[in-house]
Symmetry: C2
Amino acid sequence: MTATASSISTASTAFSQHDHNHCIKSAITQAQNLCKERGVRLTRVRQRVLELVWQSHQPLGAYTLLSLLAEEGFNSAPPTIYRALEFLQNEGLIHKLASVNAYTGCTNPGNPHEGHFFLCLSCNQALELDTTTLQNSLQNSAENHGFAIAQQTIEITGYCAQCQQSA
Amino acid sequence: MTATASSISTASTAFSQHDHNHCIKSAITQAQNLCKERGVRLTRVRQRVLELVWQSHQPLGAYTLLSLLAEEGFNSAPPTIYRALEFLQNEGLIHKLASVNAYTGCTNPGNPHEGHFFLCLSCNQALELDTTTLQNSLQNSAENHGFAIAQQTIEITGYCAQCQQSA
DNA sequence: CTAGGCTATGTTACATTATAACAACCGCTA
DNA sequence: TAGCGGTTGTTATAATGTAACATAGCCTAG
């Protein structure tokens, strides 16, 4: 398995039991490799933000991340975090969830794509989907309207299986 | 044609030529009827906000709407607009576009549904889709994960046919 | 027809999210 | 090692959204 291949299994994580340490390590390794390949710099702040975002599958807000950085002695003014987030988004390493103003790690950064998510309203976890069908359906619809897709925001809130059982 | 039926043809508006005055009038009439049926009050501010939202197919921000209200002598503190928007959203008369923090009129308010949009990055217009296929695809995916869908945010940015020609 | 309760609105203050603008620093390479 | 481009520091402010309580308007029961 190479680092740039899809090494974090989509749709098997987030809502189910898994070795999350593996998620984190894998995400960082992939990020390092991708940045090297592309000749961009995964600086200390940037990498640390990526790690923080990956601490769980629960998307975190910019200011939450900022205060985590601050605790570790990093600069704590807003531009610090927004710059890091912007870089990570540009490199496809994280996704922004517009409907909740929060950021989450991308599970397949080597393969540029749009983020499609299930967000659990109870446990706040985000599951990134690999929705080829959805994609095709959207593409068809776009073609019918002569619309050229640039970016997609697909965020489905609801309740994950676990939380439904608990309730 | 009754007012509560889908009387604003989805997907034929926004990006194509149409009698927009009809959109506005129809939207207001439908809103009035729906509110009456439901026993909720479409007050002056609320109706005016709905009209303003419907002035075009370009989604408007809360503060833009607020300043339009202010020009007409309405109160101009933020809660005024956010309350009106909240009411209209609850009644399914408008949708919020989370990815751009803006609000747009719902083209089919009698039929409770989620908003699925194409947003043109050039002319800023929003086209609300009626995407049954997409819906099914999502529903399947949700079922596979045991996920119970509550709310959907589907916002696809790109370029509409007209703007592609102009460029 | 009016008292009281509910809904809606007014008002002030503030919370949250995000960006602009310019200065200082750092790492590379010519 | 001078300089250039990219990164970070710093200050200030913009944009978006809410909390909390006071006032006003509307509706119905008595």
